[in-house]
């Protein structure tokens, strides 16, 4: 849940995504095809899909645009509101 940096706790990413589902809904798009369209490597798409990497806003918008949906339809923030 948390990683420690210099004794301080840092919250890990709580962003989930629907990329896998959206890929299959968009003509069984492969990870490589999405990567090429978004201008990143396939490994980055794999990492995002697996929730191991949170993309920048720019990349999030690019991915959402490729699916023709809004960013919130692709990425969801699961953290608690303060």
């Amino acid at each position: 849940m948390f990683s420690t940096v210099g004794g301080a706790k840092m919250a890990k990413s709580e962003i989930s995504n629907n990329i896998r589902r959206l890929r299959f809904e968009n003509g069984q798009m492969t990870q490589q095809e999405l990567a090429d369209k978004a201008g990143v490597t396939r490994q980055t798409i794999i990492a995002i899909e697996g929730g191991k990497y949170s993309p920048s806003l720019t990349l999030a918008f690019k991915i959402a645009r490729e699916f023709g949906v809004s960013v919130e339809d692709v990425f969801q923030y699961g953290g608690k509101a303060r």
Partner: protein, 142 residues
């Protein structure tokens, strides 16, 4: 395997190979060619091969060299390698004080320390990149 990970493995192999070659050369020079130990520096010319990466592994048309995640990984690896370099360099500067005290050190000591530091930085950078990609397992998806 993406290009950054491939480069890290390539660099690690070249540097370790050059270092082993230099160590063997130093050993042979020390045993059979006394006074010519400095020739052990020659194998470090192999380091130049690190910069031939783009020639050996040319970028394919349409291939993406690196993206934002790769940049993050490279930056983190640079921070890690320089942090380790700093600690090792500081420690190696303290060793003569602890061992010799107020005496003098050989003129080659600083050169040796800097050479070792340069090698260490490259090795640590490569290892840090490889570890962050999860050792390249499952196509480096970590």
């Amino acid at each position: 395997m993406n290009r950054v990970l491939k480069y890290a493995w390539y660099q690690l192999i070249v540097i370790i190979a050059a270092t082993i070659f230099a160590a063997v050369t130093l050993l042979i020079a020390a045993l059979y060619f006394r006074g010519k130990e400095f020739s052990a520096v020659i194998p470090f010319c192999l380091f130049a091969f690190v910069h031939f990466y783009r020639v050996i592994f040319p970028l394919k048309p349409g291939e993406i060299a690196f993206d934002e995640r790769d940049v993050n990984i490279k930056n983190r690896a640079t921070r890690i390698s320089f942090t380790i370099f700093w600690y090792v360099f500081a420690l190696s500067c303290l060793i003569p004080i602890l061992v010799i005290g107020n005496g003098s050190i050989h003129v080659m000591y600083l050169g040796g320390v800097l050479l070792c530091a340069a090698i260490l930085i490259r090795i640590m950078w490569s290892i840090a990149v490889i570890v962050q990609y999860g050792w390249g397992g499952k196509d480096g998806e970590k």
